[in-house]
Amino acid sequence: MTNPSPEIFRLDHKNIFDWIESNSRVLDLGCGDGELLSHLIEHKAVKGTGVEIDEAAIYKCIARGLTVSHGNIDTGLDDYSTKRFDYVILNESLQQMLHPQRVILEALRVGKKVIVGIPNFCHWRARVQIFFRGKVPVTKELPFEWYDTPNLRFLSLKDFRRFCRVNDITILGQKNIALNQRILLKPNVFARIGLFLLQKSSS
């Protein structure tokens, strides 16, 4: 039984939510306080679990009644068997990983489909800051200074598409978001966040 569509305030969550089929098995890597997982469990009857590094966030997940593992996503996938999940979500976590390529390929091993959400480092505001102001950009989605950023990887939506091509990953869908609205035109310039629905090409 699935409940009627919920009010989801974050557009990235809303779009990911719409991609995921009811009653599927979901792993959310970097699940934060478990908001998205809770929506999915409540309204789409998914069997969901999460991995999160932040202890305070884990406590919130447990309070929501979620099943979660406290740990590092860079190594968190070793625990799972092949095609264990229908979807693996990597939203806003890829850019903070030490080994993003390995993690995505591992995610494609344990999940039939993988959803990746990344901040677009080549959004026009970022380009303006680099080009005219000569400084490393600080934007809404990338709010950190160079010395305190948790982000280790800086990439554009185009970079990510290329990564998929090189690694035999099929992009089944792409959604582009800026300031809580969908972007249809020139996403690599105007989108702040890119969401990708992926599948291993051979499968």
Binding site: E55, Y59, I62, G65, L66, T67, S69, H70, G71, R84
Partner: protein, 379 residues
């Protein structure tokens, strides 16, 4: 949030079974009986008998987990977590806290009187295992008329019991909360146990265990406890608590008297342990721990093959006796069996003792986890 209250006066109860010729068969193959198990219960068993939770204690404690014994100043060892409105809410759940076979805390153990001879068993007591503890507790559960439990919970040695309950009785156990524990005793743990045992055995008063009615091997047992205590703390917690503080003196004595607070503390801990614990019991229980290996030398994932319980596994960052990586191995093996498991590594400086100290974090995790389990199981 409901008001947290203390339980009032509680009493230890006793259940005796395995009367000859119906002795219990121990893991070693020895038939043994009669067996008495000391236990306490808190809260009320509901009409469907579906709200029971089993709590297991660590090596040196007992069935008295919460509330106060008549006239006692101090409550049971997990009073912070058990009581009305607490994580193990006695308004909702029926808590059964069971002592173990081999203990000197009311259950049959080496210090108990052998009914055949009228004298304490001492070393004629059979070797026991964690499996035997669990088997005896199952008899207790049957006696209480409880067919299913919402959860089995324990830290340290109690955690080993909880894990074995889920493995041996998968149909009975809805969930497991395993705290600061592991799936096999490691070489380091066995090594510390052996040093403790040697301290007891090399005390001349030990007399091959035959010290009842004579001088007890107080020095050996105190020394074993001192070593144990060091393993329960952490480098950081010891340094914060004692640092290099001297015992009521301005400067070191330049002799072999005690200089530092930490020495004094360990001596106090050792001496007070002797007042409340039996040396032979320490030998038997530490051996029982050493024998514990859920995988029986094989693959850990296979050990969980029939397990159907949901799990909450809690480890502590500074616990070096039961390090977090061992809990992670457990979690990995559980996941390999598609078992629903949550894992939390609580940041703490208290070492292994954290499972008794980190009340706030544990309360949060346990109460919410149990709410979910209760919702899924209490119809």
């Amino acid at each position: 949030m409901p008001q947290k209250e203390n339980l009032g006066i509680v009493e230890t109860q006793f259940f005796t079974f395995a009367q000859p010729p119906h002795e219990m068969v121990l893991e070693s193959g020895v038939k043994f009986g009669p067996i008495t198990i000391a236990y306490e219960t808190y809260g009320t068993l509901n009409q469907n008998k579906s709200n029971a939770i089993l709590v297991f204690h660590s090596l040196s404690t007992d069935a008295h987990a919460a509330g106060f014994h008549a006239g006692a100043k101090n409550p049971g060892w997990w009073n912070d977590l058990i009581g009305p409105g607490k994580a193990l809410d006695t308004n909702k759940y029926y808590i059964i806290s069971s002592n173990v076979i081999g203990s000197c805390k009311g259950s049959t153990g080496p210090a108990s009187v052998n009914p055949k001879t009228g004298k304490p068993y001492e070393l004629s007591f059979p070797m026991i295992t964690v499996g035997d503890m669990v088997k005896a507790q199952k008899h207790l559960l049957d006696h209480l008329g409880v067919k299913k439990v919402l959860s089995v919970i324990g830290g340290s040695m109690g955690g080993l019991q909880a894990l074995l309950w889920a493995v041996n009785y998968p149909d009975i156990v809805a969930s497991v909360i395993a705290i600061a524990t592991n799936t096999r005793q490691t070489a380091q743990q066995i090594a510390f146990h052996e040093v403790g045992r040697q301290a007891i055995i090399s005390d001349p008063d030990w007399q091959k265990g035959d010290y009842h009615g004579k001088t007890i091997p107080a020095k050996g047992l105190a020394l074993a406890r001192m070593i144990g205590h060091i393993t329960y703390m952490s480098d950081q917690s010891m340094d914060e608590k004692f640092g290099r503080k001297l015992i009521a003196k301005e400067r070191v004595g330049f002799d072999f008297s005690q200089d530092f607070e930490v020495e004094n503390y360990l001596k106090y801990r050792g001496d007070s342990f002797v007042q409340r614990f039996d040396a032979n019991c320490y030998l038997y229980l530490s051996k029982a721990l050493d024998y514990f290996d859920l995988a029986k030398g094989g693959e850990l994932a296979k050990a969980f093959k029939n397990v159907r319980s949901n799990f909450l596994v809690i480890a502590f960052t500074s616990d070096w006796l039961y390090p977090a990586y061992q809990s992670k191995e457990m979690v990995k093996a559980l996941k390999a069996n598609d078992i629903d498991v949550s894992y939390v590594e609580v940041k703490s400086s208290y070492g292994h003792d954290a499972f008794l100290v980190e009340v706030e974090g544990e309360s949060h995790l346990i109460s919410h986890f149990l709410s979910r389990i209760a919702k899924e199981n209490l119809k």
